[in-house]
Amino acid sequence: MDEVSVDEGESNSSIEVAPALIAVHPLEESVAVATGAELRVFSLKGDQPINLQDDSEGPSHSEAIRAISFGAKGRFFASAGDDKLVKVWAVDSWHCIRTVCSEKRVSAVAVSHDGRWLTFADKFGIVWAADLSVVRDSDMPVNRKPIPILAHYCSIITSLEFSPSGQYIVSADRDFKIRVTVFPRNPSNGAHEIQSFCLGHTDFVSCLAFVKTEEDPLGFLLSGSGDSTVRMWDFPSGCLLCTCDVGEKAELGELIGEEDHPAVTDLCASPDGSIVAVAIQSFCGIVLLTCDLSTKSIAVAKVIYFKKSFIPTCLGMSCSAERLWTVTGASNFPSSTTLPLACVKVIDGLQNCYLDSNGAGPVELENDSIPGGEKLLTKLQGSVSAAKEEKALSEAAEAVKTAMRNLLIKKQYSAEKRDFRKRSRNDKKLKQ
């Protein structure tokens, strides 16, 4: 009833808003930022901005990029979004080696650890796999078309990840589901064997990350959700090991105002889980958690407050987890200027706050101490001074928040309602 009025009153523009994204190479060799249709890459290894080259003969991104990811242990990078293009880049040269066309807009992307398979999720909740291997002989052509391998019925997939061993592909959706599926050696006939569902979240699942130790090489899954929690799972069994109510534990209530249960919007973790950075809806800062994998517990380690109007839209970290890279910004929001907005902030000394509480805490790096310095900022932000555009940034943050809500909570209803109306029409037809 009330949903009808709410979602019919919604303007399309708020749904189109795309948050800025960031991805850090596992060895911190490069950093990528996506804002709108723009993909910006800076090579930290070469200390220079990258000019992307396209060898794939496919079109370039023309609409908002919704998902970026370093895959195959940092050999490949994938980008995808509203233009229905999924582009795969060879990280050593930053040439686009493949452009795959999706039938629908793309919401999540992941490349298998062996670099053979590109997987992506479309707006219908279907996960596709495309073979990335190069055609070597013409007798055995590789099937270049993506194949649907699994689906979340009528729910948009927010995150797609391969487990550390590569044995499973894990998909999270806008209802509250996390599905763990055995990833077959040859997925061209689909991925039919569901290993488990990780159920416990009571709102949309926004993000996934894996952590592991030598004792537990299979690892554990972390998930963040609109229900304000981060949860730890024994994912092969779907067993919930720990729930951390981040909004409550970090005592963010007053800072965020009206949101007494703010959504977890992104999360990234050091490989062993000792450092887990969490971004929270409406919160100008980061909450750092720590996972104890021996006791299977998650605790809040530290809350970092930013200057006003920097609400991170996305987080990134290399394997060494020395630094946390964050970005805020958006494209396509009503008052946005011509340039898609992105502003980067780097937190250094992450390890410190875990050692002892009196030691030097994590610090927000000044422009000139950020790796790559102003050159990097010029590339990734579009200008060194993006951070000064406070007004634009806070508008962007607000737009992202509204868009998240609309997209994550209400959009699915209209799709289902249509579904239902059609279905009930069929029912009638049948009865006669």
């Binding site: 599905r179 159920l199 416990g200 979240h201 309602k417 279905r423």
Partner: protein, 271 residues
């Protein structure tokens, strides 16, 4: 129910968002919403099968495993899109110790089935305690009701045909949804499908045939399975088709184990 005081934040008196977000799990396909268990361990067995769960208090604890539920029987048969519940009623006395559930998306229809079962329980003391119904969208929420390998039998009798090609993805049998049914059925468990629409019959059979986790149940076994006879006779839709002398197309398949070794990697055991 929107006036409950705890729905408002104490400090601001504004409706708390968390209660509105909760709608994400109920599914406003019609004017009222239905609740969905967060996970199978949250399913309220004592409400649905009081006879099998005597004096067990409904515990409202957060997501966790209710230890009592572990030792008590779980649902083993599911009738998906159960309509008016004729199949459940017939199966109930045939398998009196097996818990069964009907899943139905239409509010009024599921209410009807609920009333029907309650009336049967009153009229036949001690009987019909093993069947119940939930209003739900089976295409979205099967994993919320059943754990891995929990079910022995699943029924899909006379499902909606969705003729148009672009609506095929709405069919309740599809390659993708079969993955979920395979997950929730134990190895050796059975999936029963029947329709009077030839095109749908071919579709359901070919999905099952293609799916690596199902194989056809041999004819000899079908002949001795008492359940097979019910497919055409027990449900309201089946009876209607029979009255009109319509032809039916059935496909009965068994859940088989996944291949154990995949590229030298041993797959985790299917439990």
């Amino acid at each position: 129910m929107d006036n409950k005081p705890d729905r408002q934040s104490k400090t601001t008196r504004l409706p708390r968002k968390r209660f509105y977000r909760a709608r994400a799990h109920s599914n406003p396909l019609s004017d009222s919403h239905f609740p969905v268990p967060v996970s199978p361990s949250q399913f309220e067995y004592s409400l649905h099968y009081p006879h099998f769960y005597p004096s067990e208090e409904t515990n409202e604890t957060d997501v966790g495993i209710s230890s009592a539920a572990k030792t008590q029987p779980k649902i083993q048969f599911a009738d998906v899109g159960c309509g008016f519940g004729g199949l459940l009623v017939s199966l109930s006395t045939l398998f009196p110790d097996t818990l069964m559930i009907g899943m139905e998306i239409r509010d009024k229809v599921s209410e009807y089935v609920k009333e029907r079962i309650l009336a049967l329980r009153v009229a036949n003391p001690g009987q019909y305690q093993n069947i119940s119904v939930v209003r739900t969208n089976s295409m979205k929420y099967i994993p919320n009701y059943f754990e891995k390998a929990q079910l022995l039998k699943m029924f899909f009798l006379f499902p909606d045909p969705h003729f148009k090609e672009k609506n095929h993805r709405r069919r309740v049998i599809s390659m993708h949804l079969l993955d979920e049914y395979a997950y929730t059925l134990q190895v050796g468990g059975t999936i029963y499908t029947i329709t009077d629409v030839e095109e749908l019959g071919i579709w359901m059979k070919s999905c099952l045939e293609e799916h690596p986790l199902f194989e056809a149940v041999p004819r000899e076994e079908l002949e001795v399975d008492p359940v097979v006879k019910l497919l055409t006779s027990a449900t309201e839709e089946g009876q209607k088709v029979a009255r009109n002398g319509g032809q039916t197309y059935q496909a009965v398949y068994r859940r088989i184990a996944a291949p154990l070794v995949e590229n030298g990697r041993v797959s985790p055991p299917v439990n």
